[in-house]
Symmetry: C2
Subunit: 122 residues, 2 copies
Amino acid sequence: EVKVVKSVMEKAIAIRETTSVQDASQIIITNNVNHLPVVDNEGVLIGIVTSWDIAKAVATGKTGSVSEIMTRKVITALPDEPIEVAARKMEQHSISALPVVDTKRHVIGLVTSEDLSKLLVG
Amino acid sequence: EVKVVKSVMEKAIAIRETTSVQDASQIIITNNVNHLPVVDNEGVLIGIVTSWDIAKAVATGKTGSVSEIMTRKVITALPDEPIEVAARKMEQHSISALPVVDTKRHVIGLVTSEDLSKLLVG
Ligand SMILES: C[S@@+](CC[C@H](N)C(=O)[O-])C[C@H]1O[C@@H](n2cnc3c(N)ncnc32)[C@H](O)[C@@H]1O
Ligand SMILES: C[S@@+](CC[C@H](N)C(=O)[O-])C[C@H]1O[C@@H](n2cnc3c(N)ncnc32)[C@H](O)[C@@H]1O
């Protein structure tokens, strides 16, 4: 029985691109996460910002709004996708999370390498 | 044949606690990593700083030196430890990396949830 993404994904905490880098940092800390999908006013995925991007903002001094630092070309997963496929996408792009989207690219969850590594616990 | 940590671990990029938060951010970006073990002048592990800690520094305005923001009680792995044990430690502490140490607590590598999730790629 093949394990699929929806059986391991977690709730996504999405933000708007007008969010400040300071506020995005606070949301990362308060929710104990590293990845925030960025959505438009209809809940459609338009980018992703991670704690790595915050580190880059500190290194480059670009600490204005999320739209300045987010990645816009987002690699995603579908809920019924086998976890092997999600794991391969993360490996190929050297990323540690995939927003899970429906057919209209609304964010319905998040799957991280932390979620996948839990499957290895005996 | 049980897979052990040393067969999946990566090279660790360690820093000193006098490193500035700005420089630590630059090292995170340049090396495309999220976790920096902090070592003393003999190479002994004394802390860890991650991109999550950088986000916390931005949220709290504590952007001085790494010693102000690093975690000092570090959960580690041994090279011959089964990967299930490493995966369980990460799950229990809700962390995404373990510095790999020798018996004198010198840092000899790093194992991350990204390294473990690669094992799930078909
Ligand atoms: C290339 S990774 C390198 C560090 C580490 N592997 C990690 O995932 O954090 C960092 C960059 O990947 C981007 N990123 C993270 N998840 C992504 C996704 N699902 N699609 C596209 N880019 C993503 C982030 O916005 C950030 O700029
Ligand atoms: C509790 S995690 C929460 C977010 C996410 N799970 C992650 O690992 O990035 C973030 C905190 O864990 C700490 N941390 C990361 N790896 C650690 C380790 N091996 N031992 C102790 N603390 C660690 C970091 O310094 C940071 O303060």
